[in-house]
Amino acid sequence: MKKGMDDIKMSITDALELPLDVTLDLPKITLIGHLKINITNHRGIIEYTKELIRINSKIGMIKITGESLEIRNVLMEEISINGSIKSIEIIS
């Protein structure tokens, strides 16, 4: 019962806090383990090979290296990459 109350409190505070990526138009990079990466609010693909993917964004270039990288989805707002990721670098 107490845990339920805590959860509600958490969600209320979360809802009131304004997200940064929306207000400042920043990309949001979500990494799931070393297997999957989601980038929303990107500005296109610069380079795409199996070992290296470079993606343009407002804050500069996002460089992802890894092995057998594959673009799972590519949309206007979102890009999702599968593969074993070794490093993420932001070059501004």
């Binding site: 296109g44 693909i45 380079e47 795409y48 594959e70 673009i71 799972r72 989805n73 590519v74």
Partner: protein, 394 residues
């Protein structure tokens, strides 16, 4: 994700291979044109493989031509392609549709009528009754009202104890149970035999319908076949079943024996009483003996009295009362005994006789065996011994 996969399958998609040098530019162009690409896979430096929806492929080809790349379709997946394939196999599609329609149509038609549980009513009779009321094989199931059918059967057969009508698949099932007592209204439509209901000597046999199998003077036992419902055709060698009917008069004999003692023993109380007391605990008794019973002939009487007048209390006082009796032998008049026993035995026999039987002779035989008078009364009667037994053709 499965839902998306199914959606994509229904919408249709193609796997394409794009060859060129400016592949990244192409991808960005595709993004800006809002073309959804997925499973983008680099094969080598000049080739990528991607999946694109059927809607997006035309727009994508335009961009590819603009960017100077070449496109090649590897595989077409999805429902729209199956449909377009079927366009070339019109006969197959027509056949499929006809088959489905036929299945649906045929399953809406009644194909069989099954009757369960009949013993006396022939199944064909019920089926005929149903047919007469337009419930026949080949009729649409939704046109049959089971309540209506139930009412119909109840109206025509008033000796049913149970009736259930249901439609199971393409089958109409009529399940019924007849009342065991045979109805008075004789239904002559079902085939039957006439059998003997008791032992007798045949005097006269008149077969109105059916084949007499016994002759005059013949002795028949109970349940012997008298008139057969199986008749040989006069024209051909075939046999057919009829409702056997007829009169079978036979001499039957009823007898009854009565035994009575001639010398009657009568016990007369003298008035002398001898008492003994005891206690019983849960039906097990202890008796306080105060000598043997001083009488030669006596009647024993046991009286239990509960102490304290409580039902469940296990201790009970038992009073054994012995009353002295004097035995007197009374010799009865034999002639009087004979008449009274004969009357009594005749009365017993009359109970067994049916209304239609005709009494031919009444006989009484007396034998004296020591103290016992045995009276045997025999009555010869002439009666119809026929009994209906249905032939089960099924």
């Amino acid at each position: 994700m499965l839902a998306i996969k199914i959606w994509n399958y229904l919408k249709g998609y193609v796997i394409i291979r794009i060859k060129g040098l400016t592949l990244e530019r192409l991808l960005n162009l595709a993004l800006s044109k809002d073309i959804y690409l997925w499973n983008v896979n680099r094969i080598n430096s000049t080739t990528i493989e991607a999946t694109v929806s059927l809607v997006g492929i035309d727009a994508l080809e335009e961009i590819i031509n603009k960017s100077g790349c070449r496109v090649e379709i590897v595989k077409r997946v999805g429902f729209p392609f199956i449909l377009s394939k079927l366009k070339y196999r019109k006969a197959f599609v027509v056949g499929l549709v006809v088959f489905m329609c036929l299945i649906i149509f045929l399953s809406r038609v009644l194909w069989d009528i099954e009757i369960i549980g009949t013993e006396q009513i022939p199944k064909d009779d019920i089926i005929e009754l149903l047919n007469k009321n337009d419930i026949r094989i080949g009729k649409f199931k939704h046109q049959i009202d089971t309540d209506e059918v139930s009412r119909l059967i109840h109206k025509n057969y008033d000796y049913l104890s149970f009736l259930d009508i249901r439609i199971n698949g393409v089958k109409l099932i009529v399940e019924l149970k007849e009342i065991d007592i045979e109805p008075e209204r004789v239904d002559t439509s079902y085939p039957c035999n006439i059998i003997a209901k008791r032992k007798g000597v045949i005097v006269k046999i008149v077969a109105e319908n059916g084949n007499a199998v016994v002759e005059k003077g013949q002795i028949v036992e109970e349940d012997d076949l008298l008139i057969s419902g199986v008749v040989n055709s006069e024209i051909s060698n075939d046999t057919y079943l009829v409702h056997a009917n007829g009169k079978v008069l036979a001499e039957t004999r009823y007898s009854h024996i009565l035994e009575v003692p001639i010398v009657k023993i009568d016990k007369v109380e003298t008035g002398n009483i001898f008492n003994q007391w005891g206690i019983s605990i849960n039906d097990k008794g202890i008796r306080f003996l105060s000598g043997d019973v001083p009488y030669e002939n006596y009647i024993e009487e046991i009286v239990e009295k509960s102490i304290l007048n409580i039902e469940w209390f296990p201790f009970k006082i038992v009073n054994y009362i012995y009353r002295e009796v004097k035995i007197e032998e009374i010799k009865q008049d034999i002639e009087f005994l004979k008449t009274s026993t004969k009357l009594e035995a005749t009365k017993e026999i009359n109970k067994q006789l049916s209304d239609s039987s005709e009494i031919i002779s009444r006989n009484a035989i007396y034998t004296i065996d020591g103290n016992i008078l045995r009276t045997k009364v025999t009555v010869d009667t002439l009666e119809d011994i026929g009994k209906v037994q249905a032939i089960n053709s099924n």
